[in-house]
Amino acid sequence: MRRTTILFHLFMLLGIVTPQVILAQSAILDERITITFSNETVKEALTKISDQTGYVFSYASSDVNKTRRVNQKFVNAPLKEVIRFVWGEGKVKLFSLGSTIEILVVETQEKSFGDLRGYLTDDNNEPVPFAMVAIKGTRKGVITDESGKFQIKGIPEGSHVIAISSLGYGAKEQGINIKSNEITTVDIKVLVSVQSLEEVVVEGKSFTQEMAEKPIAISTINTSMLQGQTQDVAKVLDKVEGVRIRQSGGLGSAINISINGLTGNAIRFYYNGIPSEFLGGGFQLNTLPISNVDRIEVYKGVMPANIGTDALGGGINVATNTDGIKKVDLSYQFGSFNTHRAAASITRPMGDSWFINVNVNYNYSDNDYKMEVENNIYDASFPLPTGKETITVRRFHDAFSAFLGNMLLGYSNEDKGLSFRIGAYITASDRDLQHGVRVSFVPIGEFRSKSQDSYLKADVEKKISDNWILSYSGIGGYSRAQIRDSTRNLYDWYGRIVSEINPSIDRNNGAELLGRPSISDINSYNAVQRFGSTFDLPYNISLSLHHFFAYQKRQGSEELEINYIAGEDPLEEGFRITRNITSLELKKLFFAKKLEVLSTVKSYRYSTEGVNTLVRDRNTRTDLPIVTNNELEWGFNLAAKWNVTEKLFLRTSFEDAVRIPTQNEIFGNLGPIIPNFSIRPERSRNLNLDLNADISSFLKANFSYFIRSQRDLIVLQPIDVETARFINRNKVYSSGVEISLRGTLAKKINYTWNTTYFNIEISEVSQQQDEFLIGSPVPNIPTFFSNLGLTYLFEDAFKKENNLQFNIDVQFVDEFSFIQDGNIRNDANWIPVQFAVDAGFTYKIKDNLSFNFQANNVFDTALFDFVSVPKPGRNFAAKVRYNF
């Protein structure tokens, strides 16, 4: 039995480094065209391709063979093959960025490199922020910062052409000469465009932009402009329309993600495409520093087949930068409550194809913020609390620390059609806990949990042929969680052990959180593997087959025999859950690629095996009661996007999604949560409608309408005062709107504003006596919230090339009740209207060094994500960041 288990895990670990492969990121180059060239020059031939496909070519004129003539007929040939033929001799690399295809001549001998720094202004000498600056014929390109500055490193020595494009300005090209090991500076002026919107040359799109324009509903956050700030991923996400990140305390506290009204396990959190539940305790949205994150993708409803698993109402994927571009990014942040956060990210290319990337971050906080609590009063001469008092105290047992480190080896070779990333990850966390779901009269004073996780991760992509790409992504790892909940000490809110005041008062059951004491080590063995295969077929059709396999075994040891069954430790036998999710995705472009339609069918199969801790004869039976389960569910989705104009698109998606119950929901937690072996998967039907308009640099707008119809929702049902179990419950229906506006005013002020409003109501109940609830709002979900963010930029502040940027963020959350309120309002049931105001500034010195100071909850208002659990009052944080 044990040998079999070990062999299985060995297989899992070996499996992840097997070179199977990837996902297409440049499908454009694999598109097929039919075209004939008749004695045309290279430039003429490329222009002909542009006319036919709509793609724009970018290359260095000096690299073109001006004498070459092209005579060839291609029928349904891959675009990449056609371009290579047209270009002729010499080795080239092709890259697509939005609708732009770059042709880069590969040098056969080592070249010398230099850097370029520049300053982009308009005809009024106003800086031009967020313009695209690219070195033609290379992969080098950046976006100007708020002050119009840019820096491009590692440019091959020699003459180049800089291409500039920005909304509202005319496109411009300017020659430069890069010298080896020198920094070349250039000031460039661009003219305000007098062209109509339709006449504006199509610029290349950033990856973030590309993601945001997929047929499925997605909000993508490019973190490049935020990386100097003190906020973490959770804080950034909380400002996204439709998203609420609710935290039960300070740094490292439990998080509840809500997207369009769906909450809890219905929303999945992925880290580079891997579901976080397989990554251990070191991965939390509120511990990931923004400076190590490349982008955050928020999927509302449908998730793409290459990321999605069994998310019911969408998910969040945090993607770190693995593009292999040389980078060093170091930051340290400190703040109120003895909070320290350090992060380092280093990427070093090794030759043309290889690179190594190292990321490290560490978080620590005492989380000892002040809050108002009700406290029992104890007296040395009386064996009971003598009264209660309302006091303001600091939290005293909520310290948290987490470490995350990973090292990644990357390889990318266009010619061989192969790229892969192999990495090792280590995380560790150590957390105290101050209270349970609610803040009550008796705080927790000793409960502690630790986790250590380590795993290997591999991502491989292999182009088998011009129209067939294989992909593989997987992890194999081990997590160890330690729970320590065994004490007779009872604490008061001053942090005192009550028995030191009165020896007759203690914690009778010996446990602070779990109902009965536990000293347990729980080991989880995780293997997650995702295989993908994408075929490009004629007629602009592509077909993708993805399979997600996840195996998770929870096994460990319990020190206290009080938790044994039949004299055996149930943790030794453990629990297992296996998930197999297969998806078949079909994509087709219609009407000159203006309409993109995508459809996916999914099968969800899962099996479980574990100990039934519910047995009543646990003291008399001689064997452990093992329960197994095997289920199959089906789901599907359909998404479409219509490009009305280059700046306006509509999209819609519909899905019937499934979420497989978690281990805890099926087997309980060996504590107060008892098993429910008959629990069913949750289901939801999700509809999204989006209108996205890129009107000008002053205004970019998005309007969304969504509907969610959920059934068999899994919720925790108390059975008595000691126990609870997860059950399937009523149907819930929600619909709402999101509006998002953003833009730049006077080239100095950036604004973002979004608001979300929805109704979420009970649409079916299981008991006739609860029928009155049909149409009632589902309690404990904020349904109306809004965010406003403003930044103002001072250029050349105090010194030329240094910038000072002020930011202010205002968040509004309307009041909501955490239970159904009666006709007679009970204020205690309501979380009041909340305004959170954060403000700060960032001072940047020559793009390399930045200092940030942030004041959160400036007005020190009472903020709550959950009833009775206050969030920190006014607090401060400062950050220094150095990058080059």
Binding site: N376, I377, P383, L384, P385, G387, K388, V437, R438, S440, F441, V442, R507, N508, N509, R516, Y564, I565, T613, L614, V615, R616, D617, R618, N619, P625, L670, F677, S678, V715, L716, Q717, P718, D720, V721, T723, V737, Q767, Q769, D770, F772, L773, V778, F812, D814, F818, I819, Q820, G822, N823, I824, N826, D827, A828, N829, P832, F835, V837, F859, A862
Partner: protein, 423 residues
């Protein structure tokens, strides 16, 4: 939507001047007498307890959401013009004294701090009451009028089995200067099941407020007294409902007795509930399910008993092949009990405690035996019938053996309790 947007904008204008105000208005007077309906709706952490006050006996169709809702509310006992409940704020510790203001709005009028959950207790008089605390093995003595702690009854010397890993006291009943209650022991990982096969009763002398002893009868399950039902008859006999049958322990629901003048269970009184329909102890080998028990008068008590198997359970048995197949699998037993609890299969019965037999009360539809119950108010018998399409209170006239609907609940959830405060 527009209203809300305007609201947001208007509130935005006041940004910086935001302040939270609490309604700290203390009612100047309270209701002295009246009726209280308590209903529960929803599940999980979002469960609401609606509490509504009526000056007169409620009648007709009642929308109980017209009352006030609390995250927690359960009457441990009722005395004078107040209700003693577990903490109504939602926190698990502490005991609330709840009164009703002149508008009938329930509010916490006083509070007894504890270190754990309190769910069972009894009031002796205006100055003395007793309540348990899950965090303590002692009994708390307090003044129910002022909610001031007075001390403890030391239970450290009381009987306990070495196999118990913890315990809590419940089903408190007071007779003159004697206090009786039972124990719910914690046994290694016993989950929600009562893991002994004896009914156990502890005795406290309320003059000295000291533990006196314990008595037990085997083959009986947990003695339960959910609300403040009457258990003491005119002669001073105490009838206790040992209502939970467990096939795994061969225990059957029964009524036990502490005779007048005695402080121990009568070993010769072990009235097993017989299914009044089948005449057997069980329903197709599954134990009959008994809701609460209340003593009325003249040797008569009332309860609600599962007399038939709901169709859903019959279908489940057919699917699994046999009852034995279910009983041999603890998981299936759990599912069977859930079906038994959640599908109407119970009937109200009149119990002759001397003849030890039961008679079905005709009239009310089948109810959920686990959640329906009987109350005696001002000497009248009221049947709280809930389950299926029923959610109503009936008055039963023992003389004519007829029922009359008093009121029904149209909104607010399942009826959980109904009582009168004051005289």
């Amino acid at each position: 939507m527009i209203k809300n947007v305007l609201r947001f904008l208007s509130i935005s204008m006041l940004l910086g001047f935001v302040s939270c105000s609490d309604d700290n208005t203390t009612p100047v007077s309270e209701k002295q007498t009246g009726y209280v309906i308590h209903t529960t709706a929803g599940i999980g952490a979002e469960q609401s307890h609606f509490v509504q006050f009526f000056d007169e006996m409620p009648s007709g169709s009642i929308d109980n959401t017209r009352g006030i809702s609390f995250p927690r509310f359960f009457a441990i006992d009722v005395y004078d013009n107040y209700v003693i409940s577990g903490n109504i704020s939602g926190a698990v510790e502490g005991v609330s004294q709840v009164k009703f203001d002149v508008d009938g709005k329930a509010f916490e009028s006083a509070f007894l701090p504890t270190t754990g959950t309190s769910a069972s207790g009894a009031i002796k008089d205006a100055e003395t009451a007793y309540v348990n605390d899950f965090n303590s093995e002692d009994i708390i003595i307090y003044n129910p009028t002022t909610m001031q702690s007075k001390g403890i009854i030391d239970m450290s010397v009381a009987f306990r089995s070495p196999s118990w890993t913890g315990l809590s006291w419940q089903a408190f009943v007071i007779r003159d200067n004697d206090l009786f209650f039972t124990v719910r022991p914690g046994i290694e990982g016993s989950g929600s099941f009562y893991a002994t096969d004896s009914a156990i009763v502890y005795h406290i002398d309320l003059i000295t407020e000291t533990y006196q002893g314990v008595s037990a009868i085997d083959k009986n399950g947990l003695i339960s007294r959910t609300y403040n039902e009457t258990w003491v008859d005119e002669q001073g006999n105490i009838y206790l409902g040992s209502l939970f049958g467990d096939p795994g322990r061969n225990t059957e629901p029964s009524i036990l007795k502490i005779p007048a003048g005695s402080t121990s269970l009568d070993p010769n009184y072990d009235f097993k509930f017989v299914n009044p329909v089948t005449g057997t102890l069980s329903s197709v080998n599954l134990p009959i399910f008994v809701g609460n028990f209340v003593y009325h008068q003249n040797g008569k008590g009332y309860s609600v008993v599962s007399t038939s198997l709901p169709q859903a359970l019959l279908d489940f048995i057919a699917e699994k092949g046999s009852v034995d197949a279910i009983l041999n699998d603890p998981v299936l037993v759990t599912e069977a009990f859930a079906l038994l609890s959640n599908n109407p299969n119970g009937q109200f019965v009149e119990i002759d405690l001397e003849a030890q037999n039961t008679t079905i009360i005709d009239g009310p539809p089948l109810v959920d035996a686990n959640n329906s119950f009987v109350k005696v108010i001002d000497g009248s018998v009221y049947l709280m019938a809930t389950g299926g399409h029923t959610n109503a209170v009936y008055e039963y006239d023992p003389a004519t053996r007829t029922i009359t609907e008093v009121f029904n609940i149209t909104s607010g959830g399942r009826i959980a309790d109904f009582y009168k405060i004051g005289d």
